[in-house]
């Protein structure tokens, strides 16, 4: 990376033998000058990190097909036989199937709620002038920076008093509430960039504000909605802190993330390591598969979120 540039190369003169300063460099340098050395170096470090990323995942998948003695005996070896029973055990006995369903229900509900309520609030805050507008905007946006853990203790008792603990709808409401700051912040910015003329035309044609919002503005905001939707989906699907505190009463109502940790704790004592790896893989593979399929949208959604 710190290789020096040969000025002659910059002016378009074809590759030259590197001179003095580069004598100590690897062989590859002979061919491409600085670019060649850098190329080998780049690929070198990039491949190393690529291996660091993939090895643990492959190791977990391989372990999920082994039996316990193999996991301890040869952690890096391939499974001698495919122990699919690990998966069956994790799905049925360890309740991973139920947890998966719970996560689907709660995330489905809260995602719809977040998108609907978030876009409504953002639309009003972005495009209407009324007293208190800025105050409400900062009230919402301020929620992004505060440590959630601080609010959890009183939140537990707020939920308890409203008998919302350990219920799907209670968790859905809390997920929505904690997703609103970013959603409002992001969509406010997005609605502000949309042209006003279209909305005005709709109003002149006799559409109500509500109708204008649902039939004109929301369709126009689709790219922004998709971005923030992916962001929220991943955040809510991977949520761990909120259910850990608010969803502890009924063991069958656990979210997938919670269930996985509970499984790890209990299996750690029971020693069913293969079942545990199977559970981990069950939780991991669908998300990875979805990511590979929707890779473009996911990356665009998440990076748009951070860049704004």
């Amino acid at each position: 990376m710190s290789a020096q540039t040969d000025p002659a190369e910059l002016t378009g003169v074809p590759e030259q033998e590197p001179h003095g300063a580069s004598a100590g460099r690897p062989r590859a340098g002979k061919r491409g000058g600085e670019g060649g050395v850098l190329n080998v170096f780049s690929h070198g470090v990039l491949v190393i990190w690529g291996l660091l990323v993939t090895m643990p995942l492959l190791w977990a998948v391989a372990s999920s097909f082994k039996d316990d003695s193999e996991i301890f005996g040869s952690p890096w070896g391939l499974p001698s036989a495919l122990h699919v029973d690990n998966w069956v055990r994790a799905w049925d006995k360890a309740n991973m199937g139920q947890y998966f369903l719970n996560s689907l229900i709660v995330v489905g509900g809260s995602l719809i709620g977040t998108m609907l309520l978030g876009s409504m609030a953002a639309y009003v805050l972005a495009r209407f002038d009324f007293p208190g507008n800025r105050f409400l905007y900062f009230l919402f946006v301020g929620g992004m920076g505060f440590p959630v853990i601080l609010a959890l203790v009183p939140l537990f008792f707020v939920m308890k008093n409203m008998t919302l603990l350990d219920t799907y709808h209670g968790l859905i409401l809390v997920y929505i509430a904690y997703s609103l700051p970013f959603t409002v912040f992001f969509l406010c910015g997005f609605f502000r960039t949309l042209p006003t003329s279209v909305a005005e035309a709709a109003l002149i044609d006799g559409a109500s504000h509500t109708r204008t919002f649902f039939q004109v503005m929301l369709p126009m905001a689709k790219p922004g909605l998709i971005s923030v939707g992916i962001f929220n989906f991943l955040g809510q699907w991977n949520q761990y802190l909120l259910p850990t505190v608010l969803n502890v009463g009924d063991p069958n109502k656990k979210m997938l993330t919670q269930g996985l940790v509970a499984l790890a704790v209990s299996q750690g004592y029971k020693g069913d390591w293969s079942g545990l790896f199977a559970g981990l893989t069950i939780a991991m593979l669908p998300v990875l598969a979805a990511y590979i399929i929707f890779q473009r949208q996911v990356v665009a959604g998440l990076t748009a979120g951070a860049l704004k």
Binding site: E9, L150, L152, L155, L302
Partner: protein, 307 residues
Amino acid sequence: MQHGKYRFIAGFMVVPLAIYAIFVISPFVQAIYYSFTDWTGLSPDMKMVGFGNYVRLFQDDVFWAAVGNSVTLLLLLPVVTLSLGLFFAFMLNVGGRRRKKAVIGGVRGSAAYKILYFFPQVLSVPIVALLFQFAYNPESGALNAFFKAIGLDGVQPDWLGDPQLALWCVMGAMVWANVGFYVVLFSAGMSSIPKDFYEAALLDGANRLNTFFRITLPLLWDTVQTGWIYMGILALDVSAFAFVQIMSVGPGGPDYATEVLPLYVYQKTFRDGQAGYATAIGVSLLIVTLIFSAIVMRLGRRERLEF
């Protein structure tokens, strides 16, 4: 028209605002109030103790251990994660062999690298934390088995069980989980920097290290700063809690070596029944967060570069 407008605004704002006020704002306000009481969290009775909880903080060794570990994470996690992210992104976008005409170029297959690196970002924290907990396991874990396989039988650290190593092990998992996101984010930023900037710099005799510090970094500064704050909040709050709670022995151990502020708040409330004291710890966490954001904003204040 005016009448309709206000009815519309009220109709659209009331539900989101109510949910937000009940579940986010009111708990925050209550937390600050509770931090001045001796509330156990179990019964409704409590009495005001003024600054009693805060005075107690100063004599609490575990609290200071947690502050130390949280601040270590806060200082190191963003530096390591963002540096690696910048480094790999630069390699991907500028590290390639020079082709005809193009002054700089990405390495071949950079799109594939980006897809691969992003993998951990879509996995939930418990998955990553458990994965690493297994890998660190001294008897059956992948790491020690790897050391054995390459002949380093003598090197069999206890990883998460060793007070000297435990925090670094947790941090390793956090870095692993987050680097890919920044590679992709910074790549997006780098690819929008006009190529002629690099062309001009290289003509003037700058090497790639120079171009990185003189062109790439300044032009990406806004993004880096956003990432910095984001990683800082991660290091202090939700993510740190989940990683430490799942991975470390105790959790928080061994010997409070991995105790962090959010975990301590959680333990004091739900394990020890000292909700009032716990919220005081939470308020101190809030103060650390605010100081951190203020410093980053201040350091980051520099002229905005337009291009």
